[in-house]
Symmetry: C2
């Protein structure tokens, strides 16, 4: 299975690592909108090419994994390249998924290709767990908690404040909320009751720390609805203690059958968010290729992928080893 | 969707409860090998019929859910009825799944029906979690723990000992083993290191308790390889404290991407094992019917079911609400 990666940021590097440990996949090339000679990849034998070369690579790739951002890249990229390749993306703007799905579906159907959108862990594995639980226990309630982990969007929002040199923001589930949900009481929880936000900030020399802290805590959507703590640290401490991109979280569904309560919990504890996400994308690339080989086309999500398609093993093998 | 249930023990009753809360499903009849007039079901409007009537019901049912035992019932029943109906079973003798699959596949294909085997939580939801984790992280290791919960097979084994009036056996994961697995160290664990077994036994009057305890603890396969505790209690205490059939457990997969560790944990805490299993079977019945309507036939497992087929909601709805 010949894989292409478009975009070589954290996620693209995560996909590269994942492809390297899959015996049935081979990285053909990384495509970049930067100058290819400035991009240095790890995979021996794979090329670095300009994104402009993609239309000429239709016969060289089985799946193209799109590692762009959801805000502006993927809404263009995924429908665009679904007209040429089987594609996989990690589009995660939940509110815009229906329109993204429709655009990818149209392009992929016309080209006879498969486009799997919104792969990763949320959307992705967490979505699957919400769906499985709701299908098994129709009256259940699903609670999603994120963290403890680094939110890159929130870290970026802090960095845009005047006087901030760098920042790292952790999203943290509130332990009491987890306990209440796991007990099966189906609580109504506000935004503030579910998560807290911990901000580690490097201030520029002479910056007004009190003002920075106030601006963070009052920032609408990002922080105003949360109990937020701000800790100023040195650049060295940030680099030493907060270099990684850990994340994770859990989906807890609780429901009943008559008198009896059931709790279903799916939990991820990830040292590297982009590397795990890249690993999910890579498994979905396998499914996209196989489903397309069997004649499928159009947009898909992980909801539409029979789990067996994600595995390199045969049906006989997975039934014997994992069922 | 017109549902039939064959067998009205704990599992059959669990399926009945699950069908009752699914707006798109209707229980047509419960089929029994007992005298139908001795079987009293909860669903108003549904019939109780002899299992002998099934061959005449081909046009009356969309799916038949088989609630027999794996030892002797299902190896006959599932291939037999897959020649007449879309069927779903909970066959759980792991070692015999390949031959069961082959037998059901042959019958279902010949009849143009779908037969979904080995649905439930293990095999079933736990299997899915082993497969998803292994597909995402190919070098990961999956650990399955069961309990704390009642093992009916082990309870039955104790009841067969001379002098035992009744018994309840709980399978319990060893906390230290869970901690080691969650830490990501990928330990090699023996049977004894993973689970303990707690037995609550009602002895007949005058029975030799020391002998009963010895026979339990030395019973090969069931208890000899475990740290087993035996507690003698009264019939009243058994009925008061151990009437339910709670179960559950967890699948914990740990793997790496380069230096980074990831832990994936799926945990079930179930007040009623048969009612939860019945709920999974019922969701799989929905999938069997839909896949058959789209032209599929043959044996399937949950590995072969795209998750969307399990939900009563449309693709648009699940993408908007759960993705």
């Amino acid at each position: 299975m010949r894989i292409g990666i478009l975009g070589y940021g954290n996620l693209g590097r995560g996909v590269e690592k994942a492809v390297a440990v899959n015996a049935d996949q081979e990285l053909t090339a990384v495509f970049t909108r930067r100058n290819p000679s400035d991009v240095h990849i790890e995979t021996k034998g794979a090329k670095v090419l300009s994104a402009d070369a993609l239309p000429d690579m239709k016969d060289e790739l089985d799946v193209l994994i799109l590692c762009g951002g959801s805000a502006t890249d993927l809404p263009e990229m995924t429908p665009g390249y679904a007209g040429m390749f089987n594609v996989v993306d990690s589009f995660d703007t939940h509110a815009r998924i229906p329109e993204h799905f429709a655009a990818v579906d149209k392009a992929a159907r016309a080209a006879g290709k498969v486009g799997v959108i919104s792969c990763g862990w949320d959307p992705g594995m967490f979505s699957l767990n919400r769906l499985y639980a709701a299908s098994i226990l129709p009256d259940s309630e699903a609670y999603t908690f994120w963290g403890r982990g680094v939110s890159q969007g929130h870290s970026d929002a802090i960095r845009r404040i005047e006087g901030v040199a760098d920042a790292r923001q952790y999203t943290v589930p509130v332990p009491e909320a987890l306990d209440r949900v796991r007990s099966g009481e189906c609580p109504k929880l506000t935004t503030r009751q579910k998560h807290t936000r911990e901000c580690f900030v490097v201030a520029k020399e002479g910056a007004d720390r009190a003002r920075i802290e106030k601006e963070i805590k009052e920032m609408p959507n990002y922080f105003a609805d949360y109990d937020t703590t701000v800790t100023f640290i040195s650049k060295e401490e940030l680099e030493r203690e907060h270099a990684g991109l850990p994340h994770g979280g859990m989906v807890i569904s609780t429901g009943r059958t008559g008198e009896n309560r059931h709790v279903i919990e799916y939990r991820l504890t990830l040292d590297s968010n982009p590397e795990f996400t890249g690993s999910v994308l890579t498994a979905c690339a396998r499914a996209a290729f196989r489903m397309n080989q069997e004649g499928a086309s159009g947009a898909k999500t992980m909801f539409d992928i029979a789990p067996a398609y994600l595995s390199p093993l045969s049906g006989e093998e997975i039934r014997a080893k994992m069922l």
